[in-house]
Structure formats: structure tokens, C-alpha cells
């Protein structure tokens, strides 16, 4: 099982690296249309995906812990539930 997961990891890293290399290759060879300034940066989408994900996780968790998350029975002492 362990050998399996190690080779799985290696395979995954391989794919990651491949996506970066192909990205650079495509940028240089095919010169795609760039609408924005960041289209020119080589690994933009990879970096945006990575840091964007972290930002969303940490930012939303902060928003929740410091403000919006409440106990599950927050709304439960309804007048309506008492009457009905």
C-alpha cells in the first residue's frame, strides 16, 4: 500500500511539473492572446490557484470565526415554535 501511495505522489508531482512546463512552452511557442497584464506572467494561473485557494480558506474561516458563525440553536427559541 505504501509503495502505491509513494508512486501516486510521484505521479502527481510529475503532472504538476508537466503542467508548468507545458504552460511555459505554450506561452513561448503559441503566443496566445493576452487581454490582461498578468497573462504575460508565466505561471500566473498556477500561482493564482494556489494562493487564491489559501486566501479563500483562511479569509472565509476568519470571517466565520470572528463574526458570522453561531451555535446551531441560534434561531431556535422562536415564538412561533412555542405557539405551534
Amino acid at each position: 500500500m505504501k509503495k502505491n501511495s509513494i508512486s501516486l505522489k510521484k505521479g502527481f508531482y510529475g503532472i504538476l511539473l508537466l503542467s508548468l512546463i507545458v504552460g511555459v512552452f505554450v506561452d513561448i511557442m503559441l503566443k496566445p492572446e493576452s487581454h490582461f497584464i498578468w497573462d504575460r506572467l508565466p505561471f500566473f494561473h498556477a500561482l493564482y490557484g494556489f494562493f487564491g485557494c489559501i486566501f479563500i480558506i483562511l479569509g472565509s474561516k476568519a470571517l466565520g470565526h470572528y463574526w458570522l458563525q453561531k451555535k446551531e440553536n441560534y434561531y431556535d427559541d422562536d415564538i412561533h415554535s412555542e405557539n405551534k
Binding site: V26, H35, A46, F50, S60, L63, H80
Partner: protein
């Protein structure tokens, strides 16, 4: 030969027949309705039935009620509504309660009514039928929570309906027409002091679940029945997108609202514990792409046409993959009875097929190549690039990251993995649910692999080629590295036993306070006031029997109350008082009924005489 048959009426007319059938015949009948409707729409495409124009027009007080406004826009939405309804009805085939099927059919039929409505009154009628029938899909869960959630749902939607009707009246007053085929001049509304577009937009935005008016969606959808929730995902929000395209295409406000929506849903989904509520927030996120596309859809421009095409394509694909996601999550709820990530886990051993079918929906929503999200969502993003809107582009791509994170990673990991021992016994859901999911998954892959089936239905020519190498590479990079970040931070993404406050806090908390105010302080004040008034009235009636004596009695009473009074004097006065009160006339003798009527007649005839004389 008939010029046209309204597909929505097929569903509505089938409703009375449903309770009359049983067993296999009923199941066959239920499935035959969407098939029949699909055949009608095919005939429309081929030209056997009307494929463009206005039909089924009724005259109403000199105005035209148009039940069949057909063009490419209404046709493409009709296609997806009918195809999705087939999958969903199959999913719900095992339900024995006729009421649930009836509610679903009315819901689908009225949505098609909205899609073909050519005038505002027809639109309003079907809009309200949609809200009422969807309510029952929530209420059929029959729990206290679903009752309350349904109540909140219908209150919000009735408010939206009232806004719509108000807007329609204002629009009619200012333009004299009730036609619904031109965009409302939103930007000019302020200058011309005509607020009709604002009200109508408000109503459309409520149904499209645009924040801050969106809270009804994550509130109600998770409380609906397992099969009902699947129906709910498709029709209300997407018909709202349809009417937005028809009425408000190119309105800049929508671009920003849409982009904010896209991120809003994603942020809230991070915090969610209930799997169906998490998916409900993703509906908001994806509809944000559509709303954003509508906003960018300025008619007559190439980028605008791309945006509208993108919004429609995204609606088409979203209905399919969202239905699949809700079917998968619903299957988990059906089998385990639980819907919270804190209570689920390790189910892969028992439900691998459901997992893989769910994941096809997850790959689609995330925009993986070969699945239908890749061919549609990316069109809207491309439109934002064509319009050179960097902030919007960043927001939409950011929402993509979040979408993959929750739908494709957090939810399945928390439900099917993340625990070494499964939380409870489970098994695959009933056959019909699996078959429905498989068919929907097949459609998702079909469109992903061969997008031209969809592209050919779009109203504007499609100048977009999703499968080009740069695009594939950037998308793959985005998704792969999101996965890496997820894996590193997966510890932070366990479910928490909390709820998250949303804008419904306003009407839930403030509403409760208002009710408390009415029931306690205001009520007490009212009863008190009432008592005091009646006491005053009784006093005057008593006094009127013998005013002089009443005055004397009151003076005696006052004397008794004076301080430093002699006790014997007090006794004297008391005695006099009792005497006086005994002599006080009792109530006025009550007249009999006949005498009273006679008196009334005499007075009325006297009044009549007076009136005739002075005329």
C-alpha cells in the same frame, strides 16, 4: 394541424391524471410527460410546429396576453428545462405521495409558462404559480424546520411577487403596454422618474437569489425533501436568469452584482456544515456567473453576444450538473438520514457508485476539461476579458477556485472519506436514483466532449472554441494547484457544528422582535386602553340616570376621602351615602325588541322625510 402546443400545459394538464393512476402505469405516465414535451420542442426546432413568433394570444380588455412568445432564447431554456425535468422525475419515481409529483409538475409547467410569456401579466401569473408550487416541495418534508423554512420562503417570494405586480402597474401607467420583449430602460429610469424598472428588477433579483436578497435559497433548499430539492435547483433561479436576459441585458449593475454573488456563495460555502446548504450557496455562486454575463450582454457588440451566449450556456450546463450534485447529496441524505459533514464520513466503502457519479457533477462545476462546465463557464470569463474588466475577471476566476475547493474537494472528502471508519451503515440509493444520476452524468460528459450540440441552440453565433491548448493548460494549472493548497490545508476544512448568519438574520431576528412587541407591550397597552375607555363610558351612563344625585354622591365620596376626618363623621357620611345610592335609579328599563324596532323605524322615516323635503 395545430400551430403550436405549449409544453408547459402538457405538465399542468397531466396533474389531474396523476392521482388516478397506480403502480407501473403511473411511473410510465410520469416519464412520458417530459418525453412528450421534448418531442414538441423538437418539432418546434424542426419547424413542424411554430419555431419563431407569437402565438396563443388572448385578448384581454384591448390588450394582448401572449402565452407563446417563441424565439431562440426561449427555446434553448425550454430544452434544458424539459431534459432536466426528465432526469429529476426519474430520480423521484419512487415517491408514493401524489402531492409531491403534482407540486413538481405544476412547478415545471409554470416555469415553462414563464419562459414563453410574451406579456407581463402572463409572466406574473406563472411567476406566482411557480412560487406556490415550489413551496410544497419544501413543505412535503414535514418537519418543523421545513415548515418554518417554507414559511420564510413563501413570504420572501410573495414580497417579490408584489414588487413585480407593482412594477408592472407602474410600467403600464408610463408606457401603456404590457409587452415583455424589450429591455427595460434601467439607466434612464432615474431621470424619467419612472420606477417601474427598479421594482421589476427587484422582483427578478429576488428569484435569481442575488445577495442581499438571496437568503431564502440556502435557508429553504436544504430543508426540502430529497427529491424536491433537486427540482428546486433548476427552475426558479434559471427562469429568473431568462427574464433578466430578456428585460435587463446589458445593465452594468448586474455585472458587479454577478461578480460579487460569485464570490459570496463561495465564501459562505467554506463555513457550511450541511452538505445541501453548501451546494445551495454554490447555486448562488454559479448564478452569479450568469447574472454577470447578462450584465455584460450589451446588444449589438461581439463581446456582449459572447456574454449572453455564455450566460445561457452556463445556465444550460448548470441545471444539469447542479441537479446531479443535489441528486448525489440527496442520495446520501436518503440513505443515512444525515446531512452534516460533522456527522458523515468514510462512506466510500458503501456508496462508491454514488461517489463517482457525484464527482462527475463536481468536475463539471469546477470546469474540468471534457465536462460541461469547461465549455460554458469559461465563455462568461472570456467575455469579461473581451470587455477588459480585470477586477471582474479576477473575481470570476477566484470563484472558480472556491467552487472546485468545496464542491470537488471539501464536500466529497468530508462525506465519503476523511474518516477511517464509516460513521454509519449505508448502501447505494434506490435503482431509479442511480439511473437518473447516471443519465444526467452522461449528459454532462456529452456536452463537455461535444459542445456544439449546445452551441447550435444559442441565440447568437458562437465564436468561441473552448478546446485550445493555452486554455486547457491554464485551466489545468488553476485546478491542480488549488488541489495542492486544499491538501495542505485540509485540516482547516472539517465541518463545524455551527450555522452561519446570513442576510436572513434581518428578518428572522427583527421579525421576532416585532412579533414580541406586538404580543406583549402593544397588546397590553391596547387592553389597558380599552378598559379605561369602557370605564369612562360606564361612568357617563351611570351619571346620566340622575346627574344631580350623581353629583351629590360624588361630593359625599370626596368628603369621605378628605384627610383628618372624624371617625363618627365618617360613619355618618357613609350611612348617607348608602342611602343615596339605594335611591339612585337603576338601569334604564330595557325595551322589548318590537318597541326598539318601532322606534328605529320612526326615526329612520323621519330622517327620510327630512331628506326629501330638503332635496
Amino acid at each position: 394541424m395545430l400551430e403550436w402546443i405549449h409544453p408547459g400545459f402538457i405538465y399542468i394538464l397531466a396533474v389531474p391524471i396523476i392521482p388516478l393512476l397506480k403502480g407501473k402505469v403511473k411511473k410510465f405516465f410520469l416519464l412520458s410527460i417530459p418525453i412528450l414535451a421534448f418531442v414538441i420542442v423538437l418539432f418546434m426546432s424542426k419547424g413542424i410546429l411554430l419555431s419563431e413568433g407569437k402565438t396563443w394570444v388572448l385578448s384581454f380588455w384591448g390588450y394582448q396576453l401572449i402565452l407563446g412568445q417563441i424565439d431562440r432564447l426561449s427555446l434553448v431554456f425550454t430544452y434544458v428545462f424539459i431534459i432536466a425535468s426528465f432526469c429529476m422525475i426519474f430520480y423521484a419515481l419512487h415517491i408514493k405521495e401524489d402531492g409531491q409529483h403534482i407540486a413538481a409538475f405544476l412547478y415545471i409547467g409554470s416555469t415553462l409558462g414563464v419562459t414563453f410569456a410574451g406579456d407581463l401579466l402572463t409572466l406574473f401569473l406563472f411567476w406566482e404559480i411557480m412560487a406556490c408550487s415550489a413551496l410544497f416541495l419544501i413543505w412535503y418534508r414535514k418537519t418543523k424546520r421545513s415548515f418554518n423554512a417554507g414559511l420564510r420562503y413563501i413570504l420572501v417570494h410573495l414580497f417579490g411577487g408584489a414588487c413585480l405586480l407593482g412594477g408592472i402597474f407602474l410600467y403600464f401607467k408610463s408606457t401603456g403596454s404590457i409587452e415583455f420583449n424589450k429591455p427595460f430602460m434601467f439607466e434612464l429610469a432615474w431621470k424619467s422618474k419612472n420606477f417601474a424598472p427598479y421594482l421589476i428588477l427587484l422582483a427578478f433579483l429576488i428569484n435569481a437569489a442575488v445577495p442581499p436578497l438571496h437568503a431564502w435559497l440556502p435557508d429553504a433548499y436544504p430543508e426540502a425533501t430529497v427529491t424536491g430539492a433537486v427540482f428546486l435547483t433548476a427552475f426558479t433561479t434559471k427562469s429568473a436568469v431568462y427574464v433578466l436576459i430578456r428585460g435587463f441585458a446589458g445593465t452594468e449593475l448586474l455585472v458587479w452584482l454577478g461578480a460579487i454573488m460569485a464570490l459570496y456563495g463561495v465564501v459562505f460555502a467554506v463555513l457550511e456544515n450541511d452538505i445541501r446548504r453548501l451546494l445551495a450557496y454554490h447555486i448562488i455562486s454559479q448564478v452569479g456567473y450568469m447574472v454577470c454575463g447578462v450584465g455584460m450582454g450589451v446588444t449589438g457588440t461581439v463581446a456582449g453576444e459572447m456574454a449572453i451566449n455564455g450566460a445561457i450556456a452556463h445556465a444550460f450546463c448548470h441545471i444539469l450538473y447542479k441537479a446531479l450534485l443535489f441528486m448525489g447529496a440527496g442520495a446520501v441524505v436518503e440513505v443515512t438520514g444525515m446531512s452534516k459533514l460533522t456527522e458523515l464520513g468514510g462512506l466510500y466503502r458503501f456508496m462508491p457508485i454514488t461517489f463517482h457519479l457525484y464527482m462527475i457533477g463536481a468536475y463539471s462545476i469546477s470546469g474540468f476539461p471534457l465536462f460541461n462546465g469547461f465549455i460554458s463557464k469559461t465563455m462568461v470569463v472570456e467575455a469579461s476579458a473581451m470587455w477588459h474588466l480585470p477586477v471582474i475577471w479576477l473575481m470570476l476566476e477566484g470563484a472558480s477556485i472556491g467552487t472546485f475547493l468545496h464542491t470537488g474537494l471539501k464536500l466529497p472528502w468530508g462525506t465519503w472519506f476523511s474518516k477511517s471508519e464509516p460513521i454509519c451503515q449505508a448502501k447505494e440509493p434506490p435503482q431509479n436514483m442511480l439511473i437518473a444520476m447516471s443519465f444526467t452524468a452522461f449528459l454532462c460528459i456529452l456536452l463537455g466532449v461535444y459542445p456544439y450540440i449546445l452551441y447550435d441552440l444559442l441565440p447568437y453565433p458562437v465564436r468561441y472554441k473552448p478546446y485550445n491548448l493555452p486554455h486547457l493548460v491554464t485551466m489545468s494549472q488553476l485546478l491542480l494547484f488549488t488541489f495542492v493548497a486544499f491538501w495542505i490545508y485540509r485540516g482547516k476544512l472539517y465541518g463545524e457544528s455551527t450555522i452561519t448568519l446570513d442576510t436572513d438574520w434581518f428578518y428572522r431576528v427583527i421579525g421576532k422582535k416585532i412579533i414580541w412587541f406586538c404580543e406583549k407591550p402593544l397588546s397590553a397597552f391596547a387592553t389597558n386602553l380599552d378598559k379605561k375607555v369602557m370605564e369612562t363610558v360606564h361612568f357617563f351612563v351611570w351619571m346620566s340616570r340622575n346627574p344631580m344625585l350623581a353629583l351629590k354622591i360624588k361630593i359625599e365620596e370626596m368628603k369621605m376621602k378628605t384627610p383628618f376626618i372624624n371617625p363618627s363623621r365618617l360613619k355618618e357620611l357613609e350611612f348617607k351615602l348608602i342611602e343615596k345610592k339605594k335611591n339612585y335609579p337603576a338601569g334604564v328599563p330595557k325595551l322589548g325588541l318590537g318597541v326598539t324596532l318601532l322606534l328605529i323605524l320612526i326615526f329612520l322615516s323621519f330622517y327620510l322625510l327630512l331628506y326629501l323635503v330638503t332635496l
